[in-house]
């Protein structure tokens, strides 16, 4: 009677071993997938970071170029506005033109010339009046 028990035991052990062997293989496969997922995630993360860094660098370059262009414009026309103000104004409809024109019209030299034009106009009017008066008495 001992043999059947032994055989039974062996069979049971074999089944258990088979079962145990199946469990071990499944666990190993899941870990590999996790690792793969982790790798993919890390790669994507890195790519995103790289893209973000590239975008940041590009944005910075564009901002710097825009600032340089605005500064060149300001320098050329001897304006007192800052490049930042101009760039902010550019993001609103017609505000760039409006702000730049306002700043230009407020320049001392432009105000001075406008005043001079005004005086010359008045002088011409006055000259016309005295000439007519002189001709009337001639």
């Amino acid at each position: 009677m001992a043999i059947p028990w032994i055989v039974g035991g062996i069979i049971a052990a074999g089944v258990a071993a088979i079962v145990a062997s199946d469990d071990s293989s499944s666990s190993s496969s899941s870990s590999a997938r996790d690792l793969e997922r982790e790798r993919v995630r890390a790669r994507l993360d890195n790519e995103r970071k790289k893209e973000a860094a590239v975008k940041l660098a590009k944005d910075q370059r564009i901002a710097s170029e825009n600032k340089a262009k605005a500064q060149r414009f300001i320098t050329k026309h001897k304006l007192t506005i800052t490049p930042e103000e101009l760039l902010r104004a550019n993001k609103q409809d017609n505000q760039l033109s409006l702000q730049a024109m306002n700043n230009y019209n407020n320049k001392a030299s432009v105000r001075g010339r406008n005043r001079e034009i005004e005086l010359l106009e008045q002088e011409l009017e006055g000259l016309d009046i005295v000439e007519k008066e002189l001709l009337r008495t001639l």
């Binding site: 825009n66 033109s97 024109m101 000259l127 016309d128 002189l134």
Partner: protein, 270 residues
């Protein structure tokens, strides 16, 4: 006619404008100013001409203002003697004043002084050059000829004429030689021979001619001054209009360039 308004636009024409205003606002009697260095007999000559001791003869310059005496047909002006001060500011004022208030100038020079000195010539030239017709209104009177022999007076006159010939503006200047003292003595002593020999009659005759001519002369001068001022006014108007156009063009060009650059900048900004 608003002289102040004209002066505002033509400050360089101050003298002509003052003269214009003066002619318009004053009687038509000729105004004759006696002009010359101090102590050359201006006041004595004037007193002889008016027949009374109205103008004071002094050894030193006592005033920088003109003195006037209005007679029936003439207004006489005694001017301060020239070259009396180290600072000749007053002479400049006297020259300017003479032009503005006098229709005619009797330039007085005493015979004993010999030929005209440099200062006298300068002043006479300045006066003659104030107006191209002005030399016709100036007369050179050599005074105190009784203080020198006729021959010496003739030499002085010849030398003076030679001096005047050197300057185109003075070449036509009429020269009359007189002795006011001799005339006054003639009057005082009732001796007509002194009066005749004083040659003052020549000035009386000249004055009579000037009285007759004054209306026409002033009318002519008025027209000439107005034309000159009108010319200056038009020149000023032309200049002002050109300047205005230039300033407007500059402003427009600058603004157009700014607008163009704004558009370029707007398109260039990323």
């Amino acid at each position: 006619m608003d002289i102040n308004a004209l002066l505002h636009f033509l400050p360089q024409e101050e003298q002509n404008l003052n003269r214009l205003a003066f002619i318009k606002n004053n009687s038509s009697k000729p105004r004759i100013a006696v002009f010359g260095k101090y102590n050359h007999g201006k006041s004595t000559l004037l007193n002889a001409l008016i027949g009374e001791e109205f103008f004071k003869a002094a050894d030193k310059r006592e005033t920088v203002e003109n003195r006037e005496l209005e007679q029936e047909k003439v207004i006489w002006i005694d001017t301060p003697g020239l070259d009396a001060d180290v600072n000749r500011q007053d002479d400049a004022k006297a020259i300017k004043g003479a032009f503005e208030v006098a229709d005619y100038l009797f330039l007085v020079h005493q015979a004993q002084a010999g030929e005209l000195d440099k200062y006298e010539l300068d002043v006479f030239l300045k006066l003659a050059r104030q107006d191209k017709n002005y030399s016709q209104k100036m007369f050179l009177i050599i005074t105190q000829v009784d203080q020198k022999s006729p021959d010496d007076v003739a030499i002085v006159e010849r030398k003076i004429r030679e001096q005047l010939m050197q300057f185109i503006d003075l070449q036509q200047l009429e020269v009359i030689k007189v002795s006011a003292q001799r005339y006054l003595r003639g009057i005082q002593e009732n001796k007509s021979i002194f009066c005749e020999r004083s040659n003052i009659n020549e000035i009386f005759s000249l004055t009579g001619k000037l009285v007759e001519q004054i209306d026409a002369a002033r009318e002519k001068e008025l027209k000439r001054l107005k034309s000159q001022i009108l010319l200056e006014l038009r020149s000023k108007t032309k200049w002002t209009a050109a300047e205005l156009m230039s300033q407007r063009a500059k402003a427009m060009k600058e603004k157009a360039e700014l607008q163009r650059d704004i558009n370029t900048l707007s398109q260039a900004l990323l």
